[in-house]
Symmetry: C2
DNA sequence: ATATACAAATAAAACGTTTTCGGAAAACGT
DNA sequence: ACGTTTTCCGAAAACGTTTTATTTGTATAT
């Protein structure tokens, strides 16, 4: 391993000079700096992140926290996509990505200690019930954090514009002539509440009545509960003409159940998803859904986190809302009025 | 930040004693050790990974290399799933995951330097054209590496049993009565070659002739080239009754093109995919495909990498083949003979 | 009693950086 | 000629650990 010391010897200068030359410090002669840089190049010098980290107390790393209990981690398209763009943007800004678990280790057995152990400059909290507590603890520990979807005090939050997304979806369905609209929502959480509120509000604005039995609660990304909710909705005396699902995956489950009941999509029942996943885009019939802009969300998250790191104590957290776009497919039938 | 020094003062012992007590060294009295551990707990001590890394020259990190040029990274279900299980297994064995890019940074601008900069104990090479060169350089640099799918000298490799997978697929299709079987292969690479060889061999064993025009080359995960290949195959005077695609995504593209041509699946043309993605499982008709066991692949990769790290110089790389399983769907028609 | 072994604890060096402070030499102004 | 500034470079401390070699004190064997 080539170290600063070796370069210093090779160049007949001090370690300090080498360090400064390689970091572009202003108090090194141009000629000397060039000579040192050339030698470093030739000898294949690579700095030691660990030594830097130790000395400067900066790791140039962002930690990413998933919920590794429930399988809602990397495997989910939404998170994978968001992580991909987050990573890309972070790298552009000089940060590497570290995957943080809550598994036991030399640090203890929680996310926050893990992030501290690795000295992450900032942390992206992707999801999980414990998002809020994690966020709080990170902030307490002085580690800047950005949360996705969930709102955490003193943390910036990135989320899709669920309110507008849902409103657009309802308006679209309404514009296609649907007046008996059912909705399946995911488990209770901030996002669900926003979407539900927007659903009720938009329906009210459009003069669409929403009987209680038209609204069901299931779980995100859970086929079984979506199927159950669908069965209940289909059994209703006045069957809804359209069902809104909490995500594309659930919608697929619902679609399967609808067809199993001998009904056609969108002939007998129209459906919509949420997310704009590959599943929705390549399902046949192509699913009508709301596309979450994971790319922009990832980029915004990285930028925000970098800002939080740089501004330090004085950082003012904020809510960042990323627009989502209606993705009309073939699962919503145009009804004659 | 609580350091060993502070604990030493608090406990009236030396730093060395604290270090050893916390690491369970044998030459510390039980009573003293207990006292120190309790104090560490109370004061909220968390060790510094950076200092450890610097001193021991071990980071307890695995780097993961994607191809971040082409978008074939995290966003791909196969890799995301594999990474998920790799991560989980690695964490169980005490390794954290670091995402390595080839972006420019303090290390230079290639994957290998990046991994060296971060002092990764081992590296998982997920994919990319430059897998081979990366692997070589890592080995040269003394960093253990494990490659996925590609074969690299002095690196262990993890891959699906492509040969058996393809053979089973062909036999299954044959068992359903198909005798005019077309195949679309991905771009040339070890995996493609294995699958192609297995295809030809199995066809020969079954007495199925494969005219050259029944075989097309496209790109993995590329819809356009799959569509083009499909168009060519459909235009053939003697249209194949079944088309094997290189992956599920490509198969979806093919299916779209087949239906656009006014043909039905599997009524007029049968198709198969490869991977066993969500796309295949929830496509309608449900796609017949070969499921790659990403879970076992990830686990095997992590275990192998840990082994490589522990055994050091004397490590003997090997090829690890993970079985894949035929996943019959509804896209292969049973033909009357 | 002395030598020998062992247990428990420590001092100190080292890992590879960054950075503060200061010094030498050269350039400048008078 | 002298003081002053500027330019370039180096000495040394520090970051938080691990680890080797050593010391101190106590128990065992002769």
């Amino acid at each position: 391993m080539v170290t600063l010391k070796m370069l210093a010897q090779a160049c007949n200068v001090s370690i300090a000079t080498v360090s400064k030359a390689l970091n572009g410090a202003p108090d090194i002669g141009l000629e000397t700096a060039a000579r040192i840089q050339k030698t470093a190049q030739q000898m294949g010098y690579i700095p030691s992140a660990a030594a830097r980290n130790l000395k400067t107390n900066r790791s140039h790393c962002f930690g990413v926290i998933f919920d590794d209990g429930t399988e809602s981690g990397l495997a989910h398209e939404f998170f994978a996509n968001m992580l991909e763009s987050f990573k890309h943007q972070a790298e552009l800004m000089g940060y590497d990505i570290f995957l943080i678990s809550g598994q036991p280790g030399p640090w203890g057995s929680d996310y926050v200690s893990h992030a501290r152990y690795r000295n992450c400059d900032g942390v992206l909290i992707m999801v999980g019930d414990n998002v809020v507590s994690c966020g709080q603890e990170l902030v307490m520990a002085g580690i800047p954090a950005v949360a996705v979807d969930y709102g955490v005090d003193n943390c910036s939050t990135i989320h899709s514009d669920n309110v507008r997304g849902m409103a657009e979806l309802v308006r679209y369905v309404h514009s296609q002539g649907h007046r008996t609209i059912a909705a399946v929502f995911g488990e209770d959480c901030p996002v669900t509440r926003l979407r539900a509120a927007s659903f009720y509000r938009t329906c009210a604005e459009l003069g669409v009545e929403v009987p209680d039995e038209y609204v069901r609660t299931s779980l995100y990304h859970d086929m079984d509960s979506a199927i159950l909710a669908t069965r209940q909705l289909l059994a209703l005396p006045r069957r809804p003409t359209c069902i809104l699902y909490p995500d594309d995956y659930a919608a697929i489950g619902g679609m399967n159940e609808i067809e199993r009941a001998g009904l056609s999509i969108p002939g007998d029942v129209s459906v919509t998803g949420f997310d704009g996943s590959l599943l929705a885009r390549y399902a046949r019939p192509r699913m009508t859904t709301v596309q979450q802009n994971t790319r922009d969300m990832g980029i915004a998250a990285a930028r925000e986190l970098a800002r939080a790191v740089e501004e330090g104590r004085g950082f003012l957290p904020r809510d960042i809302t990323i627009p989502c776009t209606l993705l009309p497919g073939e699962t919503v039938r145009k009804l004659g009025l």
